[in-house]
Symmetry: C2
Subunit: 216 residues, 2 copies
Protein backbone atom coordinates (compact mmCIF):
# COMPACT_ATOMS: atom_id res chain seq x y z
CA UNK A 1 0.00 0.00 0.00
CA UNK A 2 1.74 3.15 -1.18
CA UNK A 3 -0.92 5.62 -0.13
CA UNK A 4 -4.23 6.92 -1.42
CA UNK A 5 -5.23 6.83 -5.07
CA UNK A 6 -5.41 10.17 -6.83
CA UNK A 7 -7.84 10.21 -9.74
CA UNK A 8 -6.93 13.17 -11.87
CA UNK A 9 -5.86 14.60 -15.21
CA UNK A 10 -2.56 16.27 -15.92
CA UNK A 11 -3.96 19.54 -17.25
CA UNK A 12 -6.87 19.94 -14.81
CA UNK A 13 -6.15 22.92 -12.62
CA UNK A 14 -8.12 21.48 -9.69
CA UNK A 15 -5.88 18.40 -10.00
CA UNK A 16 -2.78 20.59 -10.02
CA UNK A 17 -3.77 22.35 -6.83
CA UNK A 18 -4.43 19.05 -5.08
CA UNK A 19 -1.16 17.52 -6.30
CA UNK A 20 0.67 20.56 -4.93
CA UNK A 21 -1.05 20.14 -1.56
CA UNK A 22 -0.20 16.42 -1.42
CA UNK A 23 3.42 17.21 -2.29
CA UNK A 24 3.65 20.00 0.29
CA UNK A 25 2.41 17.50 2.89
CA UNK A 26 4.96 14.98 1.70
CA UNK A 27 2.26 12.38 1.04
CA UNK A 28 2.69 9.56 -1.46
CA UNK A 29 -0.15 8.63 -3.76
CA UNK A 30 -0.92 6.37 -6.66
CA UNK A 31 -1.57 8.35 -9.83
CA UNK A 32 -4.57 7.34 -11.95
CA UNK A 33 -5.20 9.46 -15.04
CA UNK A 34 -8.63 10.10 -16.55
CA UNK A 35 -8.37 11.64 -19.98
CA UNK A 36 -11.02 14.35 -19.95
CA UNK A 37 -10.98 14.94 -23.69
CA UNK A 38 -11.75 11.25 -24.21
CA UNK A 39 -14.54 11.35 -21.60
CA UNK A 40 -12.87 8.83 -19.30
CA UNK A 41 -14.20 10.71 -16.28
CA UNK A 42 -17.76 9.82 -17.35
CA UNK A 43 -17.27 6.04 -17.15
CA UNK A 44 -19.58 4.19 -14.77
CA UNK A 45 -16.55 2.96 -12.84
CA UNK A 46 -15.41 6.51 -12.18
CA UNK A 47 -18.93 7.79 -11.49
CA UNK A 48 -19.14 5.23 -8.68
CA UNK A 49 -16.15 7.03 -7.13
CA UNK A 50 -17.26 10.57 -7.97
CA UNK A 51 -20.93 10.94 -8.97
CA UNK A 52 -20.07 14.41 -10.32
CA UNK A 53 -17.77 12.87 -12.92
CA UNK A 54 -15.17 15.53 -12.25
CA UNK A 55 -11.53 15.27 -11.28
CA UNK A 56 -9.85 15.10 -8.89
CA UNK A 57 -10.96 12.46 -6.39
CA UNK A 58 -8.84 10.90 -3.69
CA UNK A 59 -9.60 7.34 -2.59
CA UNK A 60 -8.22 6.60 0.85
CA UNK A 61 -6.69 3.26 1.83
CA UNK A 62 -9.97 2.19 3.48
CA UNK A 63 -11.88 2.86 0.24
CA UNK A 64 -13.44 6.17 1.26
CA UNK A 65 -13.69 8.41 -1.79
CA UNK A 66 -13.17 12.14 -1.23
CA UNK A 67 -14.15 14.62 -3.92
CA UNK A 68 -13.87 18.37 -4.56
CA UNK A 69 -10.26 19.55 -4.50
CA UNK A 70 -10.70 22.13 -1.75
CA UNK A 71 -12.58 19.70 0.49
CA UNK A 72 -9.76 17.20 0.01
CA UNK A 73 -7.08 19.78 0.81
CA UNK A 74 -8.93 20.82 3.98
CA UNK A 75 -9.13 17.12 4.90
CA UNK A 76 -5.39 16.68 4.37
CA UNK A 77 -4.72 19.73 6.52
CA UNK A 78 -6.87 18.31 9.33
CA UNK A 79 -5.41 14.78 9.22
CA UNK A 80 -1.80 15.76 8.50
CA UNK A 81 -1.47 19.12 10.27
CA UNK A 82 2.19 19.75 9.44
CA UNK A 83 3.22 21.59 7.42
CA UNK A 84 0.02 23.62 7.80
CA UNK A 85 -1.70 24.89 4.65
CA UNK A 86 -3.87 27.29 6.65
CA UNK A 87 -2.72 29.75 9.34
CA UNK A 88 -3.89 29.40 12.94
CA UNK A 89 -5.94 32.55 13.62
CA UNK A 90 -9.55 32.44 12.38
CA UNK A 91 -9.34 35.85 10.64
CA UNK A 92 -6.20 34.74 8.86
CA UNK A 93 -7.76 31.43 7.88
CA UNK A 94 -10.69 33.41 6.48
CA UNK A 95 -8.29 35.54 4.45
CA UNK A 96 -6.49 32.53 2.97
CA UNK A 97 -9.75 30.76 2.20
CA UNK A 98 -11.14 33.92 0.59
CA UNK A 99 -8.12 34.11 -1.73
CA UNK A 100 -8.49 30.41 -2.54
CA UNK A 101 -12.23 30.73 -3.19
CA UNK A 102 -11.71 33.80 -5.37
CA UNK A 103 -9.83 31.47 -7.73
CA UNK A 104 -11.85 28.33 -7.05
CA UNK A 105 -15.33 29.90 -7.15
CA UNK A 106 -14.93 32.99 -9.32
CA UNK A 107 -12.45 31.96 -12.02
CA UNK A 108 -12.02 28.25 -12.41
CA UNK A 109 -15.71 27.20 -12.60
CA UNK A 110 -16.21 29.57 -15.53
CA UNK A 111 -13.10 28.54 -17.39
CA UNK A 112 -12.87 24.79 -17.12
CA UNK A 113 -13.18 22.42 -20.03
CA UNK A 114 -16.88 21.60 -19.63
CA UNK A 115 -17.83 25.28 -19.73
CA UNK A 116 -15.57 26.17 -22.65
CA UNK A 117 -17.16 23.29 -24.53
CA UNK A 118 -20.64 24.42 -23.57
CA UNK A 119 -20.25 28.01 -24.75
CA UNK A 120 -19.12 26.55 -28.07
CA UNK A 121 -22.12 24.23 -28.39
CA UNK A 122 -24.72 26.63 -26.93
CA UNK A 123 -23.50 29.92 -28.38
CA UNK A 124 -21.15 28.91 -31.17
CA UNK A 125 -18.17 30.52 -29.45
CA UNK A 126 -15.12 30.19 -31.72
CA UNK A 127 -11.51 30.08 -30.53
CA UNK A 128 -11.28 33.86 -30.27
CA UNK A 129 -14.54 34.21 -28.35
CA UNK A 130 -13.48 31.37 -26.07
CA UNK A 131 -10.16 33.07 -25.34
CA UNK A 132 -11.98 36.37 -24.67
CA UNK A 133 -14.30 34.57 -22.25
CA UNK A 134 -11.38 32.95 -20.44
CA UNK A 135 -9.42 36.19 -20.13
CA UNK A 136 -12.48 38.15 -19.01
CA UNK A 137 -13.06 35.98 -15.95
CA UNK A 138 -9.38 35.81 -15.06
CA UNK A 139 -9.02 39.59 -15.20
CA UNK A 140 -12.28 40.19 -13.30
CA UNK A 141 -10.81 38.34 -10.33
CA UNK A 142 -7.05 38.78 -10.71
CA UNK A 143 -7.43 42.58 -10.42
CA UNK A 144 -8.95 42.32 -6.91
CA UNK A 145 -6.66 39.42 -5.92
CA UNK A 146 -3.64 41.55 -6.86
CA UNK A 147 -5.03 44.37 -4.67
CA UNK A 148 -5.78 42.01 -1.78
CA UNK A 149 -2.21 40.69 -1.91
CA UNK A 150 -0.38 43.95 -2.59
CA UNK A 151 -2.21 46.01 0.05
CA UNK A 152 -2.12 43.58 2.97
CA UNK A 153 1.00 43.34 5.08
CA UNK A 154 0.17 39.71 5.88
CA UNK A 155 1.30 38.88 2.36
CA UNK A 156 4.87 37.60 2.47
CA UNK A 157 6.91 35.48 0.13
CA UNK A 158 3.64 33.65 -0.39
CA UNK A 159 -0.03 34.68 -0.23
CA UNK A 160 0.02 34.61 3.56
CA UNK A 161 3.38 34.85 5.24
CA UNK A 162 6.54 33.14 4.14
CA UNK A 163 5.28 29.57 3.77
CA UNK A 164 3.08 28.22 1.00
CA UNK A 165 -0.52 27.25 1.73
CA UNK A 166 -3.99 26.66 0.38
CA UNK A 167 -4.25 29.96 -1.51
CA UNK A 168 -0.87 29.43 -3.16
CA UNK A 169 -1.90 26.01 -4.50
CA UNK A 170 -4.94 27.60 -6.17
CA UNK A 171 -3.06 30.61 -7.49
CA UNK A 172 -0.20 28.52 -8.86
CA UNK A 173 -2.56 26.21 -10.75
CA UNK A 174 -4.53 29.15 -12.14
CA UNK A 175 -1.44 31.03 -13.38
CA UNK A 176 -0.24 27.89 -15.16
CA UNK A 177 -3.69 27.45 -16.68
CA UNK A 178 -3.67 31.08 -17.84
CA UNK A 179 -0.74 30.36 -20.14
CA UNK A 180 -3.04 28.59 -22.55
CA UNK A 181 -4.79 31.91 -23.22
CA UNK A 182 -2.01 34.54 -23.10
CA UNK A 183 -3.07 36.46 -20.02
CA UNK A 184 -1.03 39.67 -19.59
CA UNK A 185 0.57 38.89 -16.24
CA UNK A 186 2.46 42.21 -16.10
CA UNK A 187 -0.78 43.65 -14.65
CA UNK A 188 -0.39 41.35 -11.65
CA UNK A 189 3.11 41.85 -10.21
CA UNK A 190 2.38 40.44 -6.74
CA UNK A 191 0.57 37.42 -8.13
CA UNK A 192 3.49 36.89 -10.52
CA UNK A 193 6.06 37.18 -7.77
CA UNK A 194 4.22 34.63 -5.61
CA UNK A 195 3.83 32.34 -8.60
CA UNK A 196 7.60 32.42 -9.12
CA UNK A 197 8.17 31.60 -5.45
CA UNK A 198 5.94 28.54 -5.90
CA UNK A 199 7.47 27.58 -9.22
CA UNK A 200 10.91 27.50 -7.59
CA UNK A 201 9.79 24.77 -5.19
CA UNK A 202 10.02 21.11 -6.07
CA UNK A 203 6.62 20.41 -4.49
CA UNK A 204 4.93 22.74 -6.97
CA UNK A 205 7.11 21.75 -9.93
CA UNK A 206 6.17 18.12 -9.41
CA UNK A 207 2.49 19.10 -9.42
CA UNK A 208 2.68 20.92 -12.73
CA UNK A 209 0.76 19.46 -15.69
CA UNK A 210 3.87 18.94 -17.80
CA UNK A 211 5.44 16.73 -15.18
CA UNK A 212 2.59 14.21 -14.95
CA UNK A 213 2.70 10.72 -16.47
CA UNK A 214 -0.29 11.46 -18.74
CA UNK A 215 1.13 14.78 -20.02
CA UNK A 216 1.01 15.16 -23.78
Amino acid sequence: MTGPILHNYFRSSTSTRLRAALNLKGLDYEYVAHHLLKGEHRSSAYLSINPQGLVPALVLNDGTALIQSLAIIEYLDEVHPEPALLPKAPVDRARVRALAYAVACDIHPLNNLRVLRYIKSAFGADDEATADWFRHWVDETFVPIEAMLAEDKRTGRFCHGDLPGLADTCLYAQVLNNRRFSIDMSRYPTVSRIFEECAAMQEFQQAAPNNQPDAE
Copy 2:
Protein backbone atom coordinates in the same frame (compact mmCIF):
# COMPACT_ATOMS: atom_id res chain seq x y z
CA MET B 1 -22.74 47.79 18.99
CA THR B 2 -25.25 45.23 17.78
CA GLY B 3 -22.82 42.94 16.02
CA PRO B 4 -21.00 42.77 12.72
CA ILE B 5 -22.18 44.50 9.58
CA LEU B 6 -23.46 42.26 6.82
CA HIS B 7 -23.09 43.78 3.36
CA ASN B 8 -25.43 41.88 1.10
CA TYR B 9 -28.35 41.85 -1.30
CA PHE B 10 -31.68 40.19 -0.67
CA ARG B 11 -31.71 37.99 -3.77
CA SER B 12 -28.03 37.02 -3.81
CA SER B 13 -27.80 33.32 -3.08
CA THR B 14 -24.37 33.66 -1.47
CA SER B 15 -25.94 36.26 0.83
CA THR B 16 -28.81 33.88 1.63
CA ARG B 17 -26.44 31.11 2.66
CA LEU B 18 -24.48 33.43 4.91
CA ARG B 19 -27.64 34.87 6.49
CA ALA B 20 -28.79 31.31 7.22
CA ALA B 21 -25.44 30.51 8.87
CA LEU B 22 -25.57 33.68 10.99
CA ASN B 23 -29.12 32.84 12.05
CA LEU B 24 -28.25 29.22 12.87
CA LYS B 25 -25.45 30.55 15.08
CA GLY B 26 -27.87 32.98 16.70
CA LEU B 27 -25.67 35.96 15.81
CA ASP B 28 -27.03 39.46 15.44
CA TYR B 29 -25.86 41.64 12.59
CA GLU B 30 -26.54 44.99 11.03
CA TYR B 31 -28.03 44.64 7.56
CA VAL B 32 -26.62 46.83 4.80
CA ALA B 33 -28.11 46.31 1.34
CA HIS B 34 -26.24 46.82 -1.93
CA HIS B 35 -28.56 46.84 -4.88
CA LEU B 36 -26.73 44.76 -7.46
CA LEU B 37 -28.93 45.78 -10.37
CA LYS B 38 -28.10 49.42 -9.63
CA GLY B 39 -24.36 48.62 -9.35
CA GLU B 40 -24.12 49.70 -5.73
CA HIS B 41 -21.59 46.92 -5.07
CA ARG B 42 -19.14 48.64 -7.47
CA SER B 43 -18.92 51.89 -5.46
CA SER B 44 -15.45 52.86 -4.29
CA ALA B 45 -16.71 52.75 -0.69
CA TYR B 46 -17.74 49.14 -1.08
CA LEU B 47 -14.65 48.18 -3.06
CA SER B 48 -12.56 49.33 -0.09
CA ILE B 49 -14.40 46.66 1.94
CA ASN B 50 -14.43 43.99 -0.75
CA PRO B 51 -12.04 44.57 -3.68
CA GLN B 52 -13.94 41.90 -5.61
CA GLY B 53 -17.07 44.05 -5.57
CA LEU B 54 -19.19 41.03 -4.74
CA VAL B 55 -21.62 40.37 -1.92
CA PRO B 56 -21.62 39.30 0.82
CA ALA B 57 -18.98 40.78 3.09
CA LEU B 58 -19.00 40.76 6.86
CA VAL B 59 -17.29 43.61 8.71
CA LEU B 60 -16.41 42.64 12.27
CA ASN B 61 -16.67 45.04 15.19
CA ASP B 62 -12.93 45.74 15.03
CA GLY B 63 -13.24 46.76 11.37
CA THR B 64 -11.85 43.57 9.83
CA ALA B 65 -13.62 42.86 6.58
CA LEU B 66 -14.25 39.22 5.71
CA ILE B 67 -15.27 38.23 2.19
CA GLN B 68 -16.37 35.10 0.31
CA SER B 69 -19.46 33.53 1.89
CA LEU B 70 -17.90 30.12 2.53
CA ALA B 71 -14.80 31.62 4.10
CA ILE B 72 -17.03 33.69 6.38
CA ILE B 73 -19.14 30.67 7.36
CA GLU B 74 -15.99 28.66 8.18
CA TYR B 75 -14.81 31.62 10.27
CA LEU B 76 -18.12 31.74 12.14
CA ASP B 77 -17.89 28.02 12.81
CA GLU B 78 -14.38 28.40 14.23
CA VAL B 79 -15.15 31.41 16.43
CA HIS B 80 -18.66 30.35 17.51
CA PRO B 81 -18.38 26.55 17.54
CA GLU B 82 -21.92 25.83 18.75
CA PRO B 83 -24.16 24.88 17.08
CA ALA B 84 -21.59 23.33 14.73
CA LEU B 85 -22.11 23.73 10.98
CA LEU B 86 -19.53 21.04 10.22
CA PRO B 87 -19.32 17.57 11.76
CA LYS B 88 -16.31 16.52 13.84
CA ALA B 89 -14.67 13.68 11.87
CA PRO B 90 -12.40 14.79 9.02
CA VAL B 91 -13.98 12.42 6.45
CA ASP B 92 -17.41 13.74 7.39
CA ARG B 93 -16.23 17.33 7.19
CA ALA B 94 -14.86 16.53 3.74
CA ARG B 95 -18.25 15.14 2.71
CA VAL B 96 -20.15 18.22 3.92
CA ARG B 97 -17.66 20.57 2.29
CA ALA B 98 -17.85 18.59 -0.97
CA LEU B 99 -21.64 18.99 -1.03
CA ALA B 100 -21.29 22.69 -0.27
CA TYR B 101 -18.63 23.19 -2.95
CA ALA B 102 -20.68 21.27 -5.50
CA VAL B 103 -23.22 24.09 -5.19
CA ALA B 104 -20.76 26.89 -4.50
CA CYS B 105 -18.19 26.01 -7.17
CA ASP B 106 -20.12 24.08 -9.80
CA ILE B 107 -23.54 25.79 -9.93
CA HIS B 108 -23.59 29.24 -8.42
CA PRO B 109 -20.53 30.77 -10.17
CA LEU B 110 -22.08 29.93 -13.52
CA ASN B 111 -25.53 31.20 -12.72
CA ASN B 112 -25.06 34.42 -10.83
CA LEU B 113 -26.10 37.81 -12.11
CA ARG B 114 -22.74 38.89 -13.52
CA VAL B 115 -22.50 35.74 -15.66
CA LEU B 116 -26.10 35.87 -16.88
CA ARG B 117 -25.46 39.45 -17.90
CA TYR B 118 -22.23 38.51 -19.63
CA ILE B 119 -23.69 35.72 -21.77
CA LYS B 120 -26.27 38.27 -22.90
CA SER B 121 -23.67 40.88 -23.84
CA ALA B 122 -21.06 38.47 -25.25
CA PHE B 123 -23.29 35.96 -26.98
CA GLY B 124 -26.65 37.72 -27.25
CA ALA B 125 -28.35 35.14 -25.03
CA ASP B 126 -32.07 35.97 -24.83
CA ASP B 127 -34.35 35.09 -21.91
CA GLU B 128 -34.91 31.55 -23.16
CA ALA B 129 -31.21 30.87 -23.76
CA THR B 130 -30.43 32.33 -20.35
CA ALA B 131 -32.96 30.04 -18.68
CA ASP B 132 -31.55 27.05 -20.58
CA TRP B 133 -28.07 27.98 -19.40
CA PHE B 134 -29.22 28.28 -15.79
CA ARG B 135 -31.09 24.97 -15.84
CA HIS B 136 -28.23 23.17 -17.55
CA TRP B 137 -25.76 23.91 -14.77
CA VAL B 138 -28.25 23.19 -12.01
CA ASP B 139 -29.14 19.80 -13.49
CA GLU B 140 -25.50 18.92 -14.18
CA THR B 141 -24.79 19.12 -10.46
CA PHE B 142 -28.15 18.38 -8.83
CA VAL B 143 -28.18 14.91 -10.41
CA PRO B 144 -24.95 13.88 -8.63
CA ILE B 145 -25.88 15.76 -5.44
CA GLU B 146 -29.16 13.84 -5.32
CA ALA B 147 -27.19 10.58 -5.70
CA MET B 148 -24.66 11.60 -3.05
CA LEU B 149 -27.47 12.35 -0.61
CA ALA B 150 -29.80 9.45 -1.42
CA GLU B 151 -27.11 6.76 -1.42
CA ASP B 152 -25.23 7.71 1.73
CA LYS B 153 -26.56 6.61 5.08
CA ARG B 154 -24.97 9.65 6.72
CA THR B 155 -27.74 11.72 5.16
CA GLY B 156 -30.44 12.33 7.75
CA ARG B 157 -33.11 14.94 8.10
CA PHE B 158 -30.47 17.25 6.66
CA CYS B 159 -27.51 16.75 4.32
CA HIS B 160 -25.43 15.23 7.09
CA GLY B 161 -27.30 13.85 10.08
CA ASP B 162 -30.26 15.44 11.75
CA LEU B 163 -28.95 18.94 12.28
CA PRO B 164 -28.52 21.63 9.63
CA GLY B 165 -25.03 22.67 8.56
CA LEU B 166 -22.85 24.23 5.90
CA ALA B 167 -24.13 22.10 3.02
CA ASP B 168 -27.74 22.82 3.93
CA THR B 169 -27.19 26.57 3.83
CA CYS B 170 -25.83 26.25 0.28
CA LEU B 171 -28.52 23.84 -0.89
CA TYR B 172 -31.34 25.91 0.59
CA ALA B 173 -30.15 29.08 -1.12
CA GLN B 174 -29.70 27.30 -4.43
CA VAL B 175 -33.17 25.72 -4.40
CA LEU B 176 -34.73 29.12 -3.69
CA ASN B 177 -32.70 30.61 -6.51
CA ASN B 178 -33.85 27.84 -8.86
CA ARG B 179 -37.43 29.04 -8.56
CA ARG B 180 -36.64 31.95 -10.83
CA PHE B 181 -36.04 29.50 -13.67
CA SER B 182 -38.61 26.70 -13.14
CA ILE B 183 -36.29 23.83 -12.32
CA ASP B 184 -38.14 20.50 -12.22
CA MET B 185 -37.47 19.58 -8.59
CA SER B 186 -39.38 16.27 -8.84
CA ARG B 187 -36.13 14.81 -10.19
CA TYR B 188 -34.47 15.58 -6.87
CA PRO B 189 -36.60 14.05 -4.10
CA THR B 190 -33.88 13.97 -1.43
CA VAL B 191 -32.77 17.50 -2.17
CA SER B 192 -36.42 18.59 -2.04
CA ARG B 193 -37.04 16.82 1.26
CA ILE B 194 -33.99 18.47 2.84
CA PHE B 195 -35.01 21.83 1.43
CA GLU B 196 -38.41 21.46 3.12
CA GLU B 197 -36.72 20.61 6.42
CA CYS B 198 -34.74 23.83 6.13
CA ALA B 199 -37.71 25.88 5.00
CA ALA B 200 -39.61 24.80 8.12
CA MET B 201 -36.98 26.40 10.36
CA GLN B 202 -37.16 30.03 11.40
CA GLU B 203 -33.39 30.44 10.91
CA PHE B 204 -33.72 29.62 7.23
CA GLN B 205 -37.00 31.45 6.71
CA GLN B 206 -35.47 34.62 8.09
CA ALA B 207 -32.58 34.24 5.64
CA ALA B 208 -34.83 33.96 2.59
CA PRO B 209 -34.70 36.77 0.01
CA ASN B 210 -38.36 37.71 0.44
CA ASN B 211 -37.89 38.40 4.12
CA GLN B 212 -35.08 40.93 3.76
CA PRO B 213 -35.54 44.69 4.18
CA ASP B 214 -34.47 45.38 0.58
CA ALA B 215 -36.78 42.75 -0.94
CA GLU B 216 -38.82 44.00 -3.85
